[in-house]
């Protein structure tokens, strides 16, 4: 099957403050299948956010090609169709809500698409329900918690009926409760609505349930695979300054001490099980 997202040797350069050319993306080739839940990790400046903005045609490659559902992002005529296909949620929950009432904000996207009012109303109600915010339809955004605001932002994207949702560090500014809310919403949308998810983060815990984890460093993909495959590479991850979950680190350390512990431990229960089996 044709991958829904396809990047072919994508390069992206920009000028820094000092006027030097910096390669934010340095030859990224990547296929993402419909319905996949992909998590991209990497530290600040690794190019992960630049990559995200390419998926929504907010940025276009300096060289190489990005196809979203077969549409080349350099094609001006397809711009709006691409943006509707791949919706985007940003880091700061405050700076992406436009309207003073939750439901009006969710309606913003469909209104831009020029849909008839009854259809917008139907979509808004559905989207708010999908993120569990229907009680807050009439609330003002600034009375909501960070996690709730992000869910409203997600609903705003959902109401445009996208096939892909790209989330650019949506949890970076949230507390643990807010992070959990957002992650549960995202997983729900992937599993039950079949939406392809590209989730960008530097919290490793959020990658545990992904279908695929991609590690970026200096504009390149340095590691990819299932969460188990990626997290078992403790040394590589540490070298590029990324964290591994405490249990994975524990497994790594115990293994180094000569114990027979699998390296791909991701969850507390698995760790307990592995130690008890010794």
């Amino acid at each position: 099957m044709e991958p829904i997202i396809r990047l072919q040797d994508v390069q992206f350069e920009y000028l820094s403050f000092e006027g030097e050319e910096i390669a934010a993306l340095n030859g990224v080739t990547l296929d993402i299948q419909k319905g996949e839940f992909v998590v991209i990790i990497g530290h600040n400046g690794s190019g992960k956010s630049t990559l995200a903005k390419h998926l929504n045609a907010l940025l276009r490659p300096s060289s190489g090609v990005v196809w979203i559902k077969g549409m080349d992002t350099r094609d001006e005529d397809k711009l709006w169709e691409i943006r509707q296909t791949a919706g985007m949620v940003f880091q700061n929950p405050d700076n992406q809500l436009v309207a003073t009432i939750v439901e009006e904000d969710v309606a913003f996207g469909p209104e831009n698409l020029g849909l008839p009012p009854e259809e917008i109303r139907r979509r808004v109600n559905e989207a708010l329900k999908a993120v569990g915010m229907e009680e807050y339809a009439q609330a003002a955004p600034h009375y909501l918690s960070g996690g709730q605001k992000q869910r409203v932002a997600i609903a705003g994207i959902l109401a445009m009926k996208p096939e892909i949702i790209v989330l650019d560090e949506p949890t970076a500014m949230l507390d643990p409760v807010g992070r959990r809310e957002v992650m549960e919403t995202v997983k729900y949308l992937n599993r039950h609505e079949g939406i392809t998810v590209v989730h960008i983060t530097h919290y490793m815990e959020e990658a545990v349930d992904a279908d695929r984890v991609i590690v970026m460093e200096q504009g390149k993909i340095v590691l990819q695979g299932t969460p188990r495959q990626v997290f078992s590479q403790v040394e590589v991850l540490k070298e590029i300054g990324l964290d591994v979950p405490q249990v994975t680190e524990l497994a790594y350390r115990l293994k180094a001490e000569g114990l027979d512990i699998p390296l791909d431990v991701l969850k507390v229960e698995e760790m307990v099980e592995a130690i008890c089996r010794l």
């Binding site: 403050f17 530290h43 600040n44 400046g45 918690s145 960070g146 970076a172 500014m173 507390d175 643990p176 409760v177 807010g178 530097h202 300054g241 990324l242 964290d243 979950p245 405490q246 249990v247 680190e249 524990l250 350390r253 115990l254 001490e257 114990l259 507390v268 229960e269 760790m271 307990v272 130690i275 008890c276 010794l278």
Partner: protein, 287 residues
């Protein structure tokens, strides 16, 4: 100098329809040179609490004593309190405004009317404390350096006031693991080498567990739990009810204990866990 808080209550916008009780009869003491972790989810009252400690907010009732300075609902806050108690807000880089890094860090000392020589000494020292290279960065604009550096410039701006108590509200929010570890190790140094009293507000149980002497857990404007990390992390049910978790390692230890293994359940770092598990496993094999 110790901090004493007695029956501190704070009500926001009293008498309006938006009236809310942010702090409800809070009492505690912090000893000289202690490293305190302050935990609680958003809206638990921790930000309101720390703003009282340097007089940015005044109690509705109750009192706070820092050194010999007493603050009650009626007292006038002396300027020197702000100097004694340094407060680093969340996302402190949002307060930078000067043309150069040097000027920005010098803002605090200049407000204290210090001679220029002393200002420079303090700027140099503050930059060294947060690991910034004075010569390389002093004349650059704070808006063209990296996010992690900006955060450190902002922290240096508070350190240049030479406070003896330093409060940091989520100093690692939004930073990546590398930036986070750098900042946390510098804070640890301030505590160990300078003997500063530190109050670290954080959501991360793992970070808190690694660093602090004592934890204060806030919930709905009250102090819910106080104690050493191992004491606080043993109250799993209470923490869970407040929407807070415990470090993964502590969860593993509790899991092992539930399965009948003789391990302490008050362990919260990977190092401790490795040691204990190795002892048990090797002990079992030798027996």
């Amino acid at each position: 100098m110790p901090i004493i808080v007695e029956h501190l209550t704070h009500v926001y916008m009293p008498g309006s329809p938006f009236e809310s009780l942010a702090l409800d009869d809070v009492s505690f003491e912090i000893k000289d040179g202690e490293f305190i972790g302050l935990i609680g989810h958003t809206g638990s009252g921790k930000s309101t609490l720390v703003q009282h400690l340097n007089g940015l907010l005044k109690p509705t009732s109750g009192r706070i004593v820092v050194d010999d300075i007493e603050i009650t609902s009626t007292s006038k806050v002396p300027k020197r309190l702000r100097q004694h108690v340094g407060l680093v807000f969340q996302y402190p880089e949002h307060q930078l405004f000067e043309e150069t890094v040097y000027q920005d860090i010098a803002f605090g000392p200049r407000n204290l009317n210090l001679p220029e020589g002393e200002v420079e000494r303090r700027v140099r020292e503050a930059m060294a404390l947060v690991g910034l290279d004075f010569e390389a960065i002093k004349d650059r604009s704070p808006f063209e350096i990296s996010g992690g550096q900006r955060r450190r410039v902002a922290i240096a701006g508070v350190l240049a006031m030479e406070p003896s108590i330093l409060i940091l509200d989520e100093p690692t929010a939004g930073l990546d693991p590398k930036g986070r570890d750098e900042i946390l190790s510098q804070i640890k140094n301030l505590h160990e080498q300078r003997g500063m009293t530190i109050i670290l507000v954080s959501h991360s149980m793992e970070d808190i567990a690694r660093l602090v002497d004592r934890i204060i857990v806030m919930n709905r404007g009250k102090i819910a739990l106080v104690g050493k990390p191992e004491e606080v992390f043993s109250c799993v049910e209470e923490l869970h009810a407040m929407g807070l978790g415990i470090p993964q390692i502590t969860q593993v230890m509790r899991g092992l204990k539930a399965r009948g293994m003789d391990v302490p359940d008050n362990i919260y770092t990977v190092d401790q866990a490795v040691k204990v598990i190795l002892e048990r496993i090797r002990g079992k094999k030798n027996a």
